[in-house]
C-alpha cells in the first residue's frame, strides 16, 4: 500500500493495477501469421532454385558427352542429325541479331516517347498516353508475330527489293518487331527515371536561361542516366528472351551461322520452342540440349537483370 493508493482509496477512486505496455497474451496467432506470410515470400526463392536445378542437371549430362568448349565455340548446330554437332554459336548469333535490330528500333522511339512524356506533355496527355502504352505492352507476342509476318515483312520486301530475301522469313524483321514490342518497356522505365529527377535542378537551369531542350538534354538526361541505361539493359534482356515473334517471323529454320538480316535464322528461344514441341524422349542427348541452351539463356538474362537492378539502385540512392 503506497501513499498514493491510500490517498486514492480514501476518496473512493480505484486506480487499478499498473499496466505495462506488454501484450496481455503471448499472441501465438500473430507469430503464426508472420510465419505463413514468410513462407509465401520464400516460394519465389524456391522457384529460382527449381529453375537452376532443372537447367543444371540435364546440362551436366550433356557436358559429359560434349565439352563445354566445343559447345560455346562450335559453329555447327545440328544436335539431332545422325552425325551430331553441338556448337551453339549459330543460334547465339541469331539471338544477338534480334537484339541489335530490336535496340536500333526501341531505343530511339522509347527514349523520345519518355522525354516527351516527362518533359513536354501536359497532365492530360500523360493520362491518355500512358494507358495506351500499357495496352501496347500487353499485346500478346503471338499477335505481334503474325502481324509482322503478314504486314511488315512484305512491306520491307517491297521497299528493299534488291536485297538477299529468300522466302517469307527474315531475322532482321523479327528484330525490328521485337523492338516495337519493347518500346513501352524502354519508355516507362526511362520516364520513371526522368520524373524522379528533382524539380529544383530543372528550375535552376531555367533560371539560368536554359531552353526546354537544353534542360532535357543537359540536365535531366545526365541526372537520370543510370535509370535510362537500366531501361536499355532490361530491353536487351527482353529481346534475348522473346520467343513467339522470332519463331513466326524468322522461322525456326536451319541454324547455320549467318549475319544476313534478310534471311530466316534460328535463335536460342526458337530452338527451345521448336525442339520441345517435337516428340523427343526424355533422357536423350537431344533432349538435354534444350536445357543446356536454356541454361545459357538464363545466364545471359540473369547478368542483364542484375546489372539493371544495380543501376536502378544507384539512381535511387542519388535522388530519393
Amino acid at each position: 500500500m503506497s501513499m498514493s493508493h491510500i490517498a486514492a482509496s480514501s476518496v473512493g477512486v480505484d486506480p487499478g493495477p499498473r499496466r505495462s505496455l506488454e501484450a496481455a497474451s503471448p499472441r501465438h496467432g500473430e507469430k503464426l501469421i508472420k510465419i505463413i506470410l514468410g513462407m509465401c515470400a520464400t516460394v519465389s526463392v524456391l522457384v529460382t532454385t527449381a529453375i537452376v536445378v532443372s537447367l543444371l542437371v540435364p546440362s551436366v549430362n550433356l557436358f559429359r558427352e560434349v565439352s563445354i568448349r566445343e559447345f560455346l565455340t562450335g559453329t555447327q548446330w545440328a544436335p539431332a542429325f545422325a552425325n551430331p554437332t553441338f556448337g551453339v554459336l549459330p543460334i547465339v548469333v541469331g539471338t544477338l541479331m534480334v537484339v541489335v535490330f530490336a535496340m536500333v528500333v526501341a531505343v530511339p522511339i522509347g527514349l523520345a516517347s519518355a522525354i516527351y512524356l516527362s518533359e513536354y506533355a501536359s497532365r492530360r496527355v500523360r493520362k491518355l498516353v500512358k494507358p495506351v502504352l500499357e495496352v501496347l505492352e500487353g499485346i500478346p507476342t503471338v499477335a505481334f508475330g503474325i502481324f509482322a509476318f503478314s504486314l511488315l515483312t512484305p512491306t520491307f520486301q517491297d521497299l528493299l527489293p534488291g536485297m538477299s530475301w529468300r522466302g517469307p522469313f527474315s531475322i532482321g524483321v523479327a528484330g525490328i518487331t521485337v523492338g516495337l514490342l519493347i518500346v513501352p518497356l524502354v519508355a516507362s522505365v526511362s520516364d520513371d527515371a526522368m520524373r524522379a529527377v528533382p524539380a529544383d535542378l530543372r528550375q535552376g537551369a531555367y533560371a539560368l536561361g536554359a531552353s526546354r531542350m537544353k534542360v532535357a538534354v543537359r540536365v535531366v538526361i545526365p541526372a537520370a542516366i543510370s535509370g535510362i541505361v537500366a531501361a536499355f539493359v532490361l530491353a536487351v534482356s527482353r529481346a534475348i528472351g522473346e520467343t513467339m515473334v522470332v519463331v513466326i517471323v524468322a522461322g525456326a529454320g536451319d541454324p547455320t551461322l549467318s549475319f544476313d538480316p534478310f534471311q530466316g535464322a534460328q535463335t536460342m528461344t526458337a530452338y527451345i520452342a521448336g525442339r520441345a514441341t517435337g516428340d523427343i524422349a526424355a533422357g536423350t542427348i537431344v533432349y538435354d540440349t534444350i536445357f543446356a541452351v536454356g541454361a545459357l539463356l538464363f545466364i545471359m538474362t540473369f547478368a542483364m537483370n542484375m546489372l539493371a537492378i544495380r543501376l536502378v539502385r544507384r539512381f535511387r540512392e542519388a535522388y530519393e
Binding site: 529453375i51 531552353s211 528461344t269
Partner: protein
C-alpha cells in the same frame, strides 16, 4: 565593397550561364522546335503501332468474326467450320487456376515484405533481389521449369491444365508481388500507427486498415498479370498445350489447348482459311484484353486516393 562583390558574383554567374547555355538565338529556337517534333514523332510511332495492329486484325480477320468461331471446336477437315471453343475453355480453366494461385501467394509475399520483413537482414534482401530478377526471366525458361519440374520430375502432373496453370502462375507471380507491394506502400504510416496506438495487433492493423486501403491497387496488379497470362504462348508450348484437342478440357487429365497457342497452331497450317481464322482469333483475344485493361485503368482512376 559589398556592392562590388555582388556585381562580381552577378557577372560571374552571367558568364557561367552564357558559357553553358549560350544566348537564345534564332537557331536555338529552331533547334527546340525540331527537337520537340522529333520527340513527338517517336511517341506517334509507338501509338501508330497499336493502331496499325488493330486495324490490320480487323480488316483481315473481321470477315470470319462470328459466334461460330467461339462455339465451334477445331476441325482439320473443314476449316470453315473450325473454331476456338476448346482453346477458349482451356484458357478459362488455365486462368482460373492462375488466379487461385497468385492471389494468396502474391498478396501474402507482398504483405510479408512490406509489413514484417526487416530490410537489414540478408535473407529478406535476397528475397527482394530474387523477385526483381524473376520478373526478368524469359517466359520460355518458365516453360522449361514447367516441363522438368511440374510435367515430369517431382510433381509429375503430366501434360494437363493444372501443369499449365502452375507454370503461368509462377511466371506472373513477380508482377503481382511488385504491384501489390506498391499498393501497400502507398498506405501512409500514420494510418498504421493510429491503429496500433488504439491497441490493434499488427495483423488486425493489416487486415482492417492496410489491406482495405490497398485493395484497388492490388486488384489492378492482379488484373494486369492475368492479362499477361492470357496472352502467353511460349511456356505453354513446353507444357503440353499443343494438341489439337476436340474435347473440352479437364483440370487433371487429358490434353488441353489455350487461345494464343491455338492461334499459333492455326497460323501454321497451309490453308488460307486457317490463317484467316487465326487472325480472327487474334481479334477475339485483343477484344478480351482491351476489356481487361480498361477495367484495370478504370479501377486505378476511380480509387486512386491522395491521403
Amino acid at each position: 565593397m559589398t556592392a562590388a562583390r555582388t556585381q562580381l558574383a552577378v557577372s560571374g554567374a552571367r558568364a557561367a550561364t552564357e558559357r553553358t547555355f549560350g544566348t537564345r538565338s534564332r537557331a536555338d529556337k529552331v533547334g527546340n522546335t525540331v527537337f520537340q517534333a522529333v520527340l513527338f514523332l517517336g511517341l506517334s510511332l509507338a501509338l501508330l503501332t497499336i493502331v496499325a495492329l488493330i486495324t490490320w486484325a480487323a480488316v483481315k480477320g473481321g470477315q470470319r468474326l462470328s459466334l461460330d468461331i467461339i462455339t465451334n471446336g477445331p476441325s482439320t477437315v473443314d476449316p470453315t467450320q473450325s473454331g476456338f471453343r476448346t482453346a477458349i475453355l482451356g484458357t478459362v480453366y488455365l486462368i482460373g487456376g492462375v488466379i487461385a494461385l497468385i492471389v494468396p501467394l502474391g498478396v501474402g509475399s507482398a504483405i510479408y515484405l512490406e509489413e514484417y520483413a526487416d530490410g537489414t537482414k540478408w535473407w529478406n534482401r535476397l528475397i527482394e533481389l530474387n523477385i526483381q530478377n524473376l520478373a526478368g526471366v524469359p517466359s520460355i525458361v518458365f516453360g522449361i521449369l514447367g516441363l522438368a519440374f511440374i510435367v515430369r520430375g517431382p510433381l509429375s502432373l503430366g501434360f494437363v491444365v493444372a501443369a499449365g496453370s502452375l507454370t503461368l502462375a509462377l511466371l506472373v507471380l513477380p508482377t503481382v508481388i511488385l504491384a501489390a507491394r506498391e499498393a501497400i506502400r502507398s498506405v501512409p504510416p500514420s494510418i498504421r500507427d493510429g491503429s496500433l496506438a488504439l491497441g490493434a495487433t499488427p495483423w488486425q492493423t493489416i487486415r482492417r486498415q492496410v489491406l482495405p486501403a490497398a485493395i484497388p491497387g492490388i486488384l489492378t496488379g492482379v488484373i494486369l498479370a492475368v492479362a499477361r497470362a492470357i496472352g502467353e504462348a511460349a511456356p505453354l508450348l513446353l507444357v503440353g498445350a499443343v494438341t489439337f484437342v476436340r474435347f473440352d478440357p479437364n483440370f487433371f487429365s487429358g490434353g488441353y489447348s489455350a487461345l494464343p497457342v491455338m492461334i499459333f497452331n492455326y497460323w501454321g497450317r497451309p490453308q488460307d482459311e486457317f490463317r484467316v481464322l487465326a487472325i480472327a482469333g487474334i481479334l477475339v483475344m485483343l477484344g478480351v484484353l482491351l476489356l481487361i485493361n480498361s477495367t484495370a485503368v478504370y479501377l486505378r482512376n476511380r480509387y486512386e486516393q491522395d491521403w
